[in-house]
Every structure is written in structure tokens, then in C-alpha cells.
């Protein structure tokens, strides 16, 4: 039976090794976080939907630099996948236990996160939603986000003008059912294009989860259904690039207008090579910076942030149309994320 004793000892040794590893990780992050480990530093929590999406990586960068500049300590956490509500709740609880003054969160599920946020707020923590609102919006103290409806509206207006009166056959490559951001952009696009939901000009609508390969599949299926599509609205640039691949395979990449939302660097570069005609750029860095500043202000005895702060959206294109204000790709590259 001594083998079990030995395995017990081995497991214990292993645990020590792992804990040492964790300690190293801790030091790294603490020094890069800029808090200096001082107990007096204001603690700010940032909870994103996932760790890996470039949009959230940029958001984290913005939060880290703002924390450094304001002498705050930044804690970060994320869900395991887009939609991981339980993971975000756990992160909120742990941050409240760690004594944060404020939490910045991009809610994975705008409704399901509400009870957890209410608990955090009743513990005196200020909560700011970044990028997407909660439902109801009053579940957070403030919202710092892109006006997603306006982002859609801008590319809708652009597409309408670029078509110059030609009859449109539109495909919409959307996000996923039940997600507010996707619906707002979609509805904004239709409004900008001057049509209503259910208009016969929209010949195909598919969900892409904002994913490049799913965007490609969706476009392939749309082209199968309606080969004469000439306008493609996409929820974001990965979906747009997927759509481009599908269009190219059909030899349609030159005569179809692809418009998108987001303004990530990969997406903006793809405009240079003509894969995307126009995109609405949003600014995750600014959302996070403003969020951290607001928490520091609150911690230093200032008032809580409140209401909705529009962090701005800009139409980016190198083929401007009359009547729709836009900036060129060079501007887009200077301000892109990812």
C-alpha cells in the first residue's frame, strides 16, 4: 500500500510546483499592471467576454495604460466563451471580494448578468458596461459604448449612395439570435439603406457568430440561393472577409459591395486591397480608458459616472460617396485595434 502514499506525496510535490508557477504569473502581471502592489492603489476590474478576441485585447490594453497613468491597479477576467454568463458572474464575485472600487464589463448575456451586477452595486461597487448595454440599461451605473445603431446606419447610407440607384439584392450576414449588438447594427443598416425589415431587397439573411469561416459558409449558401446578390452587409470584418472568400470563389468579388462594422486593423487593411468597401470604426481603447478614469474619479470621492457615453463611430472608406461623411483608410489604420 506504500504506492498510494508515494502517489500522495507526488501529488503534493506537484501542487507545490504549480503554485510556484502561479506565483511567477502573479508577479509578472502585478508589475505590468502598474499597480506596484501598493495596498492603497484603487482597484479596477475589467471583465470581457473572452480572453482572445482582438477587440477585447485592445480594450485590456487601454485599461492597463489608463490604470498606469492614474495609479490604479487593474484586475482582469473573462468568460471562457462568448456567452459564458456563469464565468462572468464568478469573476464579478471574486473582484468584489478582492475589494475593487469599480467593475468595467462587456456583458456576454445582457439580461442574465443583471442579478450579479445588482449584488456588486449593493456592495458599493460602481459598474460600467463597456461596448454593449445590459437589459435593462439601468442595471449598470453607466454605459460607455459605440452607438451600434448609428454604426449600422452609416454603412447603410454609404451602401445606398454607392449603389447609385441600381436595384439592390442584399445579403445580411448577422451575428446571432437574441444578441442586442447584432440586432442594432442590422436594424441600423436597414434604416440607413432606407428599407424596412422584410423588404424584398433583402434576399438572404444568415447568422455568422462574427466568425470568418462561418461568414464564408453563410455567403456560400446565400449565393447558392440568390446568385445575383450585389450588396453584402456583414456584422463585422471577420465575417466580411469570409464573405469575400466565398465571393471570390464564384468570381463575384469585383462587382459586389461588401460593407461592415468594427474597424479592426485586419479589416481596415482589407479595405486597401478592395475586399471591403466601407466599415464603421469603433474605439474599444477609448471605452476602457474612460471607464478606468471614471472609476478612479469615483474612488477619490468624486461622483459616480452615469448615463450613456457615446465613444464614437467613424465611417472609413477610400471610395467616399457624396452626402455621407467619411475618413480615409490611412485614418482608419491610425485608429484601428487588434
Amino acid at each position: 500500500m506504500s504506492r498510494s502514499l508515494r502517489s500522495g506525496a507526488l501529488a503534493a510535490g506537484v501542487a507545490v510546483a504549480v503554485i510556484t508557477l502561479a506565483a511567477c504569473g502573479g508577479e509578472d502581471t502585478a508589475s505590468s499592471g502598474g499597480g506596484g502592489g501598493g495596498t492603497s492603489a484603487v482597484k479596477v476590474g475589467l471583465i470581457t467576454k473572452t480572453e482572445t478576441n482582438p477587440f477585447f485585447v485592445k480594450m485590456k490594453e487601454g485599461a492597463a495604460s489608463a490604470a498606469k497613468a492614474n495609479g490604479a491597479e487593474l484586475m482582469t477576467a473573462a468568460g471562457k466563451f462568448d456567452g459564458d454568463n456563469a464565468g462572468q458572474i464568478t469573476a464579478i464575485e471574486n473582484m468584489v471580494a478582492a475589494g475593487v472600487k469599480g467593475i468595467l464589463i462587456t456583458p456576454s448575456d445582457s439580461k442574465a448578468i443583471v442579478p450579479a451586477l445588482e449584488k456588486a452595486r449593493s456592495a458599493g461597487v460602481m459598474v460600467i458596461a463597456l461596448d454593449s448595454p445590459t437589459e435593462p440599461q439601468s442595471a449598470t451605473d453607466a454605459l460607455f459604448a459605440t452607438d451600434n445603431f448609428k454604426a449600422g446606419e452609416l454603412i447603410g447610407q454609404y451602401a445606398k449612395a454607392a449603389m447609385a440607384g441600381k436595384p439592390a439584392k442584399i445579403a445580411t450576414l448577422d451575428l446571432a439570435p437574441g444578441v442586442a449588438v447584432g440586432k442594432l447594427r442590422h436594424d441600423g443598416f436597414l434604416k440607413g439603406f432606407g428599407i424596412a425589415e422584410g423588404d424584398p431587397a433583402v434576399v438572404c439573411s444568415q447568422d455568422t457568430q462574427g466568425d470568418q469561416s462561418k461568414g464564408q459558409t453563410a455567403m456560400e449558401n446565400c449565393l447558392q440561393k440568390a446568385p445575383d446578390i450585389n450588396v453584402v452587409y456583414t456584422i463585422n470584418e471577420p465575417a466580411a472577409l469570409g464573405a469575400h472568400t466565398a465571393l471570390k470563389a464564384r468570381g463575384r468579388d469585383k462587382d459586389v459591395l461588401v460593407v461592415s462594422v468594427d474597424g479592426g486593423c485586419t479589416g481596415v487593411k482589407a479595405m486597401r486591397s478592395g475586399q471591403i468597401a466601407a466599415t464603421s470604426q469603433q474605439y474599444p481603447l477609448k471605452m476602457a480608458e474612460d471607464g478606468v478614469k471614471a472609476v478612479v474619479t469615483y474612488a477619490k470621492g468624486g461622483s459616480k459616472a452615469s448615463g450613456y457615453t457615446d465613444t464614437g463611430v467613424t465611417l472609413i472608406t477610400d471610395k467616399p460617396v457624396t452626402g455621407v461623411e467619411s475618413k480615409d483608410v490611412a485614418f482608419g489604420l491610425q485608429n484601428c485595434w487588434g
Binding site: 498510494s4 502581471t29 480572453e51 471574486n94
Partner: protein
């Protein structure tokens, strides 16, 4: 393979000399030592770690996956595996939430229906494993997709809010000293104790271990193995239903996206708890410790301000090490 030659170390011979020795040779000792070391480490590194409130929080955070892992332990003890448990829980949760929120039936009936349906999915898994028969991996992989789709179809991808208080009762707290404890935590601990008793003290438990060690030998000794397997999957399903209730009470909503990685997380807890993936060896108390190890690391690293990606890294390392320990102890056993 070697199973027939292996006396199950989880069940030492009756003639074992000393009680102390028996405690030390239990396979849960390794995980327990790891858990205590982790707790000691985080206590030194964070002022907020070693408080009643924080431990209560950790238990709340692991109770859903921990409860799923009870069912997973039962199935793994029979040398099976369940990839569908998170999906079954999500369906059970959305069913309970929707029925209760829409006022179709009283909350208690909604909960009972949810439990029943989860047990039904478990039984269906068991039926396919025993009658066709198909490997548990394949059956539960298929079931994962089926139940996931049913959840999204039934819920129309909408999160269910506005639940009656009775549905979230287990999320309410009572006080022990200065610490708020949720009723759900008590239910979870109670379930672990119940199944620890059932597995170690009843004929049913002994049969489960026998089945995992060698189905053929188990059959020859007169155990009705098919019925036993079916029962284990059905009971596991019922436990997933309880996990669904715990989840709904914890989050306060019915969430169709819930549980997507919980199948793997529950396997992680089982493996970290020292239960062998080859069946016949392990304990549910080990699984509880395994779940707590994950929870303690996640909470402790967050309190120290370490980014969450390190939790994933460390969990991965721990899992491989835990299985290595299991394998090495088996080899020496040969």
C-alpha cells in the same frame, strides 16, 4: 486490461491493520494535500482569501460544476464518460425557468418536471449504452448535440428572466457567525455526503465499483449489469437536474448558453479528485476536493490580481499531473 488483477485500492481489504494507515492510503489524500497547500499559499498572498465569506463564495462558485461532477463520477466509476451533462443541465434549467416564469405550472411542479426530464435524458443515455450497445463517449457526444439544440429551439435563444422567488430560493443565504451561506451550498455538500455513503456503504455502491473493475466478472457474480448501468446513467441525469436548479438559483435566470464547458470542467474535477478514468477506482469526496481545487485557484489568483488565462494554464497542468499520478500508481500495482 489489468483491471482483473487489480485489487481496488479505494476499497482496502477488511484485514487492514491500522485506521491511520487506511486514511493515509486513501486516494483522496493526494488531492487533499494539494488543496490544503493551495489554500496555504493563497492565504499568505492575499489578505482577503482566508475569510469565511470568501470560502462561502468559493463553494457557491463550484457547486454547479461540483454537482454535475457527482453524476460524472458515478459514470466514470463504471468506466464510462458523460459529455452531455452540461447540456442536459442547461435544458433542465431553461425548462424549469420557462415553465415557472410563464406561470404554466406552480414553481415546485416546474422543478419536479425539470428533474424528471433530466433523469429521462440520463436514462436515454444509459439505454443506448446498454441495449445497442454503443460506447458512452459516442452516445453522450450525440446527446450533447441533441440536447443543446433542443435547449435553443425551446428557449428561442432567449434568456428567461422574472423567475418566481421559489425558483431562486437555493440562492438565498443564512448566517453562520458572520458568514452568509447559501442554501444551495448546503444542498451540494449534502449530495456529496449522500453519494459518498451510497458508494461506500451500500450493495449498490459495491456493484458500481465491481462493474467498473470488470463488467464480465461483475456479470458472473450475479450483478445485473445492464440494469445497473442504466440506473447509474438515470441517477446521474437526476443529479444534473439538481445542478440545473442550483444554477438557476445562483444566476437568477434561465440561460440557454449555460454549461457549454461544464462537461469538461466536471471531468476535470473528477480527475483532480483522484478517480481513475478507467473505472472502478475513486470517490465522490475526492471529486469534491477536485472541484474545490479548481475553485480555490480561480478565486485565489483573482484576489492576487493574476489574469484569468493563468487559471486555465494551471488547471491544464494539474489535470495532466493528476492522471500521471494515477497511471504511475497503477503501473507499480501491476
Amino acid at each position: 486490461m489489468t483491471a482483473t488483477m487489480t485489487p481496488a485500492p479505494a476499497r482496502p481489504p477488511v484485514s487492514e491493520p491500522s485506521a491511520l494507515r487506511r486514511v493515509l492510503t486513501t486516494p483522496t489524500v493526494g488531492p487533499l494535500v494539494a488543496l490544503l497547500l493551495a489554500c496555504a499559499f493563497f492565504s499568505f498572498n492575499s489578505d482577503q482569501f482566508l475569510t469565511g465569506g470568501n470560502f462561502s463564495l468559493i463553494i457557491q462558485q463550484v457547486m454547479v460544476v461540483g454537482t454535475l461532477a457527482i453524476g460524472q463520477t458515478l459514470i466514470i466509476l463504471t468506466a464510462g464518460i458523460d459529455l452531455s451533462n452540461g447540456a442536459i443541465m442547461a435544458f433542465g434549467g431553461i425548462l424549469m425557468a420557462k415553465l415557472a416564469a410563464d406561470g404554466v405550472v406552480p414553481p415546485l411542479v416546474a422543478v419536479l418536471l425539470g428533474l424528471l426530464v433530466c433523469a429521462g435524458f440520463g436514462a436515454l443515455n444509459g439505454l443506448l449504452v446498454t441495449t445497442i450497445p454503443l460506447p458512452p463517449f459516442i452516445v453522450t457526444l450525440g446527446m450533447l448535440n441533441i440536447v443543446f439544440a433542443l435547449t435553443h429551439i425551446y428557449s428561442q435563444d432567449q434568456t428567461v428572466t422574472g423567475l418566481p422567488d421559489q425558483m431562486t430560493f437555493l440562492g438565498e443565504t443564512f448566517r453562520i457567525g458572520d458568514t452568509n451561506v447559501t442554501y444551495g451550498s448546503v444542498v451540494t455538500i449534502g449530495l456529496f455526503l449522500l453519494f459518498a455513503y451510497l458508494l461506500s456503504q451500500t450493495a449498490w455502491g459495491k456493484h458500481v465499483y465491481a462493474l467498473g473493475n470488470s463488467p464480465e466478472v461483475a456479470r458472473l457474480t450475479g450483478i445485473r449489469t445492464n440494469r445497473l448501468t442504466l440506473g447509474v446513467y438515470a441517477v446521474a441525469g437526476l443529479v444534473y437536474g439538481i445542478a440545473a436548479l442550483l444554477l438557476v438559483s445562483r444566476t437568477g435566470v434561465g440561460d440557454p448558453q449555460a454549461g457549454q464547458t461544464d462537461n469538461l470542467d466536471s471531468i476535470t474535477a473528477v480527475v483532480l479528485g483522484g478517480t481513475s478514468l478507467f473505472g472502478g477506482r475513486g470517490t465522490v469526496i475526492g471529486t469534491l476536493i477536485g472541484a474545490l481545487i479548481v475553485g480555490v485557484f480561480r478565486n485565489g489568483l483573482q484576489l492576487m490580481g493574476v489574469a484569468s488565462i493563468y487559471q486555465t494554464l494551471i488547471t491544464g497542468v494539474l489535470v495532466i499531473l493528476a492522471v500521471t499520478v494515477d497511471q504511475l500508481s497503477r503501473r507499480r500495482n501491476r
